[in-house]
């Protein structure tokens, strides 16, 4: 965990409102784990004041990749950064996905920008596990399949792929899933994660989810990012430090 000033290599607009930013950051690239995130200061002045958290999307040699959409002022400024502009990055942060283990089949479930961490996950496990990637969104323009493999798509409005949400799409596969050899990795909006949690617990599926929270520091000093634990009622877990990835069994989403 440290702070680096790393130059942008390029900023690509891959979709209507989706950007992939390639940053030369050997320090981060060499130690990052899939599912970890970075807390990025998008401007040197106090507008916006706080850093913005982004999942690590991918790593290639000494370069790292972020994937984001323009939501507010922070991401607007970030999207404007060009080759050579320096970005102040604090990280790597959080725990990341646990990709090790005996499971043979990995099911990736991503909703909207929840696709962000999975290019790196895919890169790491693609030679050792069978991957099924289920990617959902409200409509076809929310579907981001960048860097993923064996993709099936669902949209709420039916404009692409399965007509319904991504957990319903997963349900359609239930018959073919062997819960002893399968692990689910997911990221997306809370409503999706909640439905997924119910589904996985009902079907006894091992599942790790990457959660989101408002954050100030990103590294455990502000206590701004609590998430309710299922095992300890006296204390919240912190999304930034204890997460952002949790086993669905461990947290109340």
């Amino acid at each position: 965990m440290f702070i680096v000033n790393s130059p942008v290599v390029e900023t690509l607009q891959v979709h209507e409102n989706i950007f992939i930013q390639k940053i030369h950051s050997p320090e981060i690239a060499s130690i990052i784990k899939p599912g970890q995130f970075l807390n990025v200061r998008v401007s040197v002045n106090s507008f916006p004041l706080l850093r913005r958290p982004f999942s690590i999307c991918d790593v290639n040699g000494e370069n790292i990749f972020l994937m984001f959409n323009i939501l507010g002022e922070g991401t607007k400024i970030l999207a404007k950064k060009q080759k050579g502009d320096l970005i102040d990055i604090l990280g790597p942060l959080g725990n990341g996905f646990n990709l090790e283990g005996e499971y043979k089949n990995a099911i990736i479930v991503a909703g909207g920008l929840g696709s962000a961490p999975f290019p790196l996950v895919t890169r790491i496990i693609k030679n050792s596990k069978n991957i099924l990637s289920l990617v959902g969104g409200r409509s076809t323009q929310d579907i981001i399949t960048y860097g993923m493999q064996n993709v099936q798509v669902s949209t709420d409005d039916g404009s692409q792929g399965f007509n319904g949400n991504v957990v319903q799409l997963l349900e359609k596969h239930l018959a073919n899933i062997d819960n002893k050899t399968t692990k689910v990795f997911a990221c997306g909006p809370n409503a999706m994660l909640r439905a997924l949690k119910d589904f996985c617990i009902k079907n006894n599926l091992d599942c790790e989810v990457s959660t989101e929270s408002a954050m100030a520091c990103g590294f455990g000093i502000c206590q701004g990012c609590p998430i309710e634990s299922t095992t300890n009622d006296d204390k919240y877990l912190l999304v930034c430090k204890d997460g952002p990835v949790f086993n669905v069994k461990d947290v109340v989403i």
Binding site: F47, L49, A216, I221, Q223, P226, Y236
Partner: protein, 305 residues
């Protein structure tokens, strides 16, 4: 190294420099030690401790605002016992004055916390947080009631010989009246300011963005207000002041000292750049050299009106 003297005194508490890390923005030191050499700092102030552990408020606890942020953490903390057992050993490794911040729901709890902590030699001073929106007595916030503040000061004073700092609420008309009773009741210093009450709503759901509805406003947005409060105390009451509120750089530190602060605390900035406090100390030294300031503490209350 130069022979610039950055040291400051807060009553009997001597610090190697005026830069302290503010309560609630440094945890118990662990994380920030990965970025910064704690031994370089003037002091660190713990997250507010209560007698028993507190879970704190449900999410959402924070939201960004223009040049500031609101927080309603709800005093989540490990409690005095766990602090002594699990956090003190880590902090003992460092040669940095530790100031214990205490928050409580009653005068008795303030007293008992202080009593339980005062024999721990690692703790060099107490900062009593009477200004947290979560601490109520008789429907009124402690920190906005001058008699309550006087009472807490006197009662806590009675159980510790260590330097006693009272952290004041800015949500009052005349903060100097509070500083005055602190002095009268034997407090050694005041910290000013804690956060200002604020809120923020989601216009689509019509719900507050923060679970607790109100939060405390911190960050550069509040700096002009904090400076005015420090100046008010400095002009009216003869008591050491620890200046807090929106400090982002060494210039802000100098500004707080000029209006009356003996030392300062850095809060929100730690979240944005945890290496900043150490850098600021270096920059203060450079400033002293460039401006021929031999003793940084000479800046305190050097304002010209």
């Amino acid at each position: 190294m130069s022979n610039i003297d950055l040291s400051v005194n807060i009553g009997s508490l001597k610090l190697r420099n005026p830069i302290m890390l503010a309560s609630g923005t440094v945890g118990y030191g662990n994380e920030i030690s990965e970025f910064s050499d704690l031994n370089k700092l003037g002091a660190i102030v713990t997250k507010s401790l209560s007698l028993k552990p507190r879970k704190g408020n449900p999410p959402q606890r924070i939201v960004e605002t223009p040049a500031g942020m609101l927080n309603a953490i709800g005093l989540a903390n490990v409690g005095v016992d766990v602090f002594l057992k699990e956090k003190i050993p880590f902090l003992k490794q460092f040669d940095v004055p530790l100031i214990c911040n205490i928050a409580a729901s009653s005068v008795e709890e303030y007293v008992e916390c202080t009593r339980n902590l005062t024999s721990e030699e690692t703790i060099k001073a107490f900062e009593i947080n009477v200004s947290c929106p979560n601490v109520k007595e008789g429907g009124l916030q402690f920190g906005n009631d001058v008699n309550a503040v006087a009472n807490v000061t006197a009662k806590v004073r009675a159980v510790t010989n260590k330097p006693l700092i009272i952290k004041l609420s800015p949500n009052v008309s005349y903060i100097s009246e509070f500083a005055k009773v602190v002095k009268d009741e034997g407090g050694d210093a005041v910290s000013a300011i804690n956060t200002l009450v604020g809120t923020s709503f989601n216009i689509f759901t019509k719900k507050p963005k923060i679970f607790n509805v109100n939060g405390g406003l911190s960050g550069p947005a509040i700096k002009p207000i904090a400076l005015a409060k420090v100046l008010e105390i400095s002009r009216k009451v003869d008591i050491p002041i620890i200046g807090i509120g929106g400090i982002m750089n060494w210039q802000d530190v100098v500004e707080f000292m000029i209006v009356g602060a003996s030392a300062v605390q850095i809060g929100t900035l730690n979240f944005i750049d945890p290496t900043a406090p150490e850098k600021i100390i270096k920059q203060l030294e450079d400033y002293c050299i460039a401006s021929n300031v031999e003793k940084l503490s000479n800046l305190t209350a050097s304002y010209i009106l």
